[in-house]
Symmetry: C2
Subunit: 333 residues, 2 copies
């Protein structure tokens, strides 16, 4: 209940100067062994803990990084945040959280509040509808670096970490081809997402490697809603070439597609095999999980993004824009 002990208090009790105590606490070489011991001993006895708010104020540094992302209830992001937290904690940083809930206006507000809160830097995964990056650019003036991950802005002068879906898709389709599938369908995502063309490219590349020709009617798009996916499935099943395997945009899409297929009396993963992206815990709870998943490494993305941010905080004069692209990879169950 009494106020927490301060350096001043220790100094008075020991009849020393505050500065001496401060130095002793920091193991400053110029302090004699005897006094250093005395000081540290008393500090321990009093349960002295430096007042971080004072340090933050004085050092103009809060050892706090802000993290802005769309939605923690998406497994991808809750995995990513663990990577962020781990990397931050290992470097003695704390993590301030803000969910945009995929609302650009809310994202902007969060960024501003975090700026005022004087976070040292920001880790960001954009809201779906963020088109204007002015609120991020404004941070430059305040020397608050930003590292984006996964959902990154469409511009070049930024730091980011992302996952390339092309390699994983190539592996997924190749895997299906090796299993003997010759007609493979794909439920792809909205055109705006960078990941969509990447998936298509990987798909085509796998066919090309086997000298098979690409049939555009076997790629359909979903807006990622349940309805969109069901419509996509309907289209795919109505196609004159009957697919024996389907690459779904992610596990959520896969699950909707599987459900639709089951309703149509299709024997899932027998008559129609599914492959998906994400490999999230979700898939282990599916009744008919995809036979293989393309891993996007959310934890690693978060971890690396944070490492970059912290290195940026170290040498403020770093000019180059860092970008790490992680290759996605197929994981067979």
């Amino acid at each position: 209940m009494a106020n927490p002990p301060t350096i001043k208090e220790i100094a008075e009790k020991l009849k020393l100067a505050k500065s001496t105590v401060s130095r002793a606490l920091h193991d400053h070489p110029s302090i004699g062994l005897r006094t250093r011991m005395k000081v540290q001993e008393l500090a321990r006895a009093l349960n002295y803990e430096p007042n971080q708010t004072a340090i933050h104020f004085q050092q103009k540094k809060t050892f706090t990084i802000g993290i802005v992302l769309p939605e923690l209830s998406e497994a991808f992001f809750s995995a990513a945040i663990s990577g962020i937290e781990d990397a931050a904690n290992q470097n003695n940083y704390m993590v301030l959280l803000g969910q945009s809930h995929d609302d650009a206006a809310r994202e902007k507000k969060i960024v501003e509040i975090m700026k005022n809160h004087r976070v040292d830097g920001l880790i960001v995964s954009l809201a779906k509808n963020t088109g204007d990056y002015a609120h991020f650019e404004a941070l430059e003036k305040f020397n608050i670096p930003v590292v984006f991950f996964d959902r990154i802005p469409d511009k070049k002068d930024i730091h980011y970490v992302a996952c390339n879906m092309e390699s994983g898709t190539l592996q997924a389709v190749s895997h299906l081809l090796e299993k003997g599938h010759r007609v493979i369908g794909m439920i792809n995502g909205p055109e705006q997402l960078v990941a969509t063309p990447q998936r298509e490219a990987g798909f085509k590349q796998a066919l090309q490697k086997k000298r098979l020709k690409f049939d555009a009617s076997l790629i359909v798009n979903s807006d990622l809603t349940r309805e969109g996916t069901r419509a996509a499935m309907q289209q795919l099943l109505a196609n004159k070439r009957k697919a024996t395997a389907i690459v779904a945009f992610n596990d959520y899409v896969a699950q909707d597609a599987v459900q639709y297929a089951l309703e149509q009396g299709i024997k899932v993963n027998k008559e129609l095999t599914f492959v998906s992206y994400a490999n999230l815990p979700l898939s282990s709870y599916m009744a008919f999980p995809p036979v293989a998943s393309v891993e996007q490494y959310p934890y690693e993305q978060g971890y690396k993004a944070t490492e970059i941010l912290i290195s940026l905080l170290g040498n403020k004069n770093e000019q180059d824009f860092q970008h790490i692209i992680i290759d996605s990879r197929l994981v067979v169950r």
Copy 2:
């Protein structure tokens, strides 16, 4: 790139005292309209933002609340955190995050770091194996209130929000009875969890209401792992009284149980109906979701816990321990 503007700067440019500027910025009534306008105008022009770290230091208050919970990848907690965040933001608080990953040692460390970081208060859901609450009790000395939710300590002198599973279970079993089921099984959880006896009590109560007698062999326990649940199912299916409905401890358990039943050739939700707890997004992605779920209101728990915490921060002299118990409730799909 230049340092952010300060009150001092504004004061000098306007040939006023710092305190005048400070008051003008805060719309203090004693400041003349003319000067107030002048100050606010210049502040806007300079993009002045108060330095929060200075305010935190000076006010001995950071407007930050720490949140310590086991695991964000559990849907329950990621929902809860949104409630916490919303309540916090509405009251101009920020949220500092720490996951214990169900490790008591890590939890303890997080609490200490947050204490040093001078959070104003803490929202906590305990790690599974936390048995020692000393690190929380230590916070009292520093006047840092703690509000627990869902996974709460087994002691009385605390603030908490929790959900009583008894009412929901009563509703769930009654629902099944009304649908004509006469032999109902339950997969309950580990004995240590407070929620386990609550479920059993609700179960018995529903039977009693219908003047049906309770058969202990129809309640089996799972340790919540997949294997534990499968063993429980095996036991239940081997019982001489064949259940036509099962109440599963949560959606994860339900899914494992459903999978096992399917493997045994049982027509799920036809021959064997499932009811579960949580009603998490997970269940909407199951191929055979439970026909009804007992809602535990994670968002509301987080929200209310935060409201309590913030009220505690308002009147520090509040002595009474607040506890809110939310009744669980059945949601039929």
